[in-house]
Subunit: 154 residues, 6 copies
């Protein structure tokens, strides 16, 4: 049985922290599905197509990585994709408390699901999509914080 | 003098975690007033009547438990109800930091008020109303996470 | 049935933080038993008699407060004293994580036991017995941090 | 070279906690610029003029303190003001996690910038502008929590 | 290339929390090596043979699980065992902060090593070996907290 | 009046994290006194002379930095050295909780003392003297984690 992981998020935009988590987890799984969560009531800051395009470009060299978007429960996506693992990066203890609740609820909704946590590289830990959007809005340079492969698109 | 506690919250919806905190605290107080906070600018996800009805049904067997709604400061409600205690459940250390600030401010506004913290049962700790609303919106099953007595209403 | 609480600790020495927790909890219980934990392998810094004497002096005006020492499991003491509540003060989120584990294990050992958490007054939060012993060893003045009633004994 | 610090925030409204941080940091710097952040999409609760007036009144006796408002990145303001330090107060460990990310990102955007953290006095730690606005909206008295000098303006 | 994980610890004694982490991680790895850390200066509470025997009994049904003991750096053990993953359970945010430092240092010592974090089941989170030793010393019953398979040995 | 800071610690051994904090704080103070705390009951792992020699070598190029050792209360040292500031690095939220208590107690013992917190560079955050001693004991290489200037002494 293949080891398939879903890496859910809004990736608005993808950061070097996200990139690092996926690359560090590559050897652990046979397939990693990067799943961009879509909320019908709230559109993101960057358009969905842009967000997905950036992710695809970032991981174009890695055959194990797939990109898709979804609406609804992450556990429903996992069932449909035969994924028994959710991959998450954790940076801070505040992240951890939040992720633990989500992971325990997901386990309650799908008992054979396991959430696997990987650390980000310490120098990437302060980077969050929220802060990047704020820098971007004020004409600051976010290039050093997003994957190098997409720098030319910004 | 009776030991009267106010258990404030939005209960949108009531969870098994809330239920557990009230039942574990029953022997500590002579009366527990479950107080549904109402915000004139922001209506809840479930209608107020539904939220109050579910709470009443959950605790119908417990004569010590009362249910009401209020707008305004929790300390004003406590004064009006002759309640000298606020009851709160804490699940995580993030909860704790937030609750501590609120409790210390309430003490500053009403010096003879004491906030009493009770733990939830560990397996109920991940359950929050926020996550339940999210599951509900996406047609997931929240029955295992809300009090058994109201399962038939969902 | 009386509401009896055990307040366990090493009280080496008692601090103004401890004093504040007991006084703030007085109206909640019919009796508060301050229980000095004794470890046969490790004697405390201040002799047991001194520690107990200081506690008795601090609460001499409060008929509801009793002082005793014990060795062994706190839950065994609770059963023997017909106490269904453990009282604990929490100051920081690090305290909280530790106290939560202990409280949940105690609940597993004695199912009708409830741990009740009360906050210390913010200006007393930094005071811990550990820091006081360190100040005392280096001839610093700990009077402002221990109950006023025992200041003359130091 | 002068030691110039920027103390950024929304100060909506200024609290005794803010006042305490600035006064405790006065001897550390040659100039402290209190910088009220303005967001073109979201106006504050109290009008900008009021917020700035209250800050000026609070620190009118301190020649080292300047007040201004700004829109955009805090690092751009620092460059323009020749400020090499950002001053921040921290109250809780949740605050700390958030401040650390911001500080590390600011350092990445301006490498010779240093963020300096000062503690608030423990009894002021529970006070946040968010809680004060909530008390104010419900006709509670916020005078004890804002600087004494502006009490007559409320 | 096989996915081999080392699960290091003192297992003094093994708990249901440890058991749960290994079983939840089984599908993720081809082999899990439970490695009992030995410190030449400090012997454990339970003898090493007992600790290893209990672990072997607990996982006797699982062909993927091996048990050994080691002294020295965990990264040296990983190199020698061709293990590219360290498996760790995390229960609380205090655990997380500690584990993050260790994991980042291990990564600095062995760059192709990845630490993988798995959650324990919420009701097992309060159980730690430290608390179990304390209960055991005071003649309390630790059977409900250690793996069922070794209950008859206690 | 000069801005003099004491940077207290056991520096057993000095790390790149310590080095980074001092260098980042240099422009803030006129003098930084690195004060190696000595405990008459517990000798360190590395001899005091070695620890002090390493610190001196690390900062030999910086005229503002002095090194000394002390026994007793840090506040007594500050008074004797006319230092009105204590400098501390913080890495994690667990660090912060601990440092806050110490800082608040020090303020209570010496009212015109201010503790100033500076962050370490993210990639240095996992490094602690405790972990370095453990690596050193097991013949691991600690050179990448201690200041470059002392690498030749190890």
């Amino acid at each position: 049985m293949d080891r398939i992981a879903v890496f859910p998020g809004s990736f608005d935009p993808i950061t070097r922290g996200h990139e690092s988590v996926v690359i560090r987890a590559l050897d652990l799984f046979d397939k990693i599905i990067i799943a961009v969560g879509v909320n019908s009531n709230k559109s993101g800051f960057f358009p969905l197509e842009k967000r997905m395009g950036w992710i695809k470009k970032t991981f174009s060299a890695y055959g194990k990585v797939e990109v898709l978007y979804y609406e609804g429960l992450t556990t429903d996506l996992c069932k449909q994709q035969n994924a028994r693992f959710i991959l998450r990066g954790i940076r801070t203890s505040a992240d951890f408390e939040y992720e633990r609740s989500i992971a325990q609820m997901n386990k309650a909704l799908m008992s054979n699901l396991e959430t696997v946590f990987i650390l980000t590289t310490p120098e990437l830990a302060p980077i969050s999509s929220t802060i990047l959007r704020d820098i971007y809005k004020h004409d600051g340079d976010i290039k050093p914080f997003v994957p190098e492969k997409i720098n030319s698109d910004l």
